[in-house]
Amino acid sequence: MSMLQVSVYRYNPETDSAPYMQEFQVDTQGRDVMVLNVLAMIKEQDSSMAYRRSCREGVCGSDGMNMNGKNGLACITPLSEVVKGGKLTLRPLPGLPVIRDLVVDMALFYKQYERIQPYLQNDTPDPAIERLQSPEDRDKLDGLYECILCACCSTSCPSFWWNPDKFVGPAGLLQSYRFLADSRDTATSERLAELEDPFSVFRCRGIMNCVAVCPKGLNPTRAIGKIREMLLANAT
């Protein structure tokens, strides 16, 4: 017998007046499966269980959720990494409105992403071939471009919880720096001018929750520090 006790956050706004935790007993047959596999087993018991998933290998970023208190991707988180005392608690990503069960409304998260203009801007005439970059300049984008926008970092950030409409959040700021650091982008000063207010960047208090939870091992806090350095260099 290798029953795992799983407590899952349930909420269906059409039938429930308030969210509640539902208990499931899942037979893992002693295997160290991923949390996403456990969710699939739960869905066999109760087909009304709602969660997002797609690639099931940590690439699409759909199944970000809170597992035993820590945000992460269910598909690449083995039970041995999160389960304490034979118990697993699954909740939706904190801080965002719940649509149903483990599915959250990511609109605010995407709005902040959109705000930092996550695309290359270059006002010089198009060259006949691609805009080339030296290997050294290309290296500056490592640790930045790999973000899959799963929202694990931003929804673990208290500053994002309190001001999701004003603070860009770690995910958006990592991408902001990805374009600030790009040698081919010419909109650097316009980008910086959008970020110097007390909220967009400076609401970051450097507690590094984002770094602790990033399933891709990225470091938004370092990127935010680099943006601050650029702002400071630009304004002093």
Binding site: N163, A193, D197, P198, F199, S200, F202, L232
Partner: protein, 115 residues
Amino acid sequence: MVTNITNFGRSGLSDWLLQRASAVILALYTLFVVGYLLLHPNLDYATWSGLFGSTWMRIFSLLAFVSMAAHAWIGLWTVTTDYLKPTAIRIAAQAVIILAIFVFLVWGVQVLWGA
């Protein structure tokens, strides 16, 4: 760009830099005062008064008071914008904080230069 009018420097960047500069000044002032008290175990009024009578100590103290004012304004403004969501309550709290900082600053100057 998020617009703000009640933060100290009207800019997140200047607030951020001032918060760090004022923290360094306050740390130095604290270390000095604590160190002075430790080095003078039998401190009497004349020595203490003489310390604050010297021009350099008055400059240092005033610098620390002004740093404290800026530091408190920036820090508490941040707290109000994090936790006080209703606008009326937030503005009222900010007004009380700024008024208190002003009162303490003038009072500090009076203590430093008065009598």
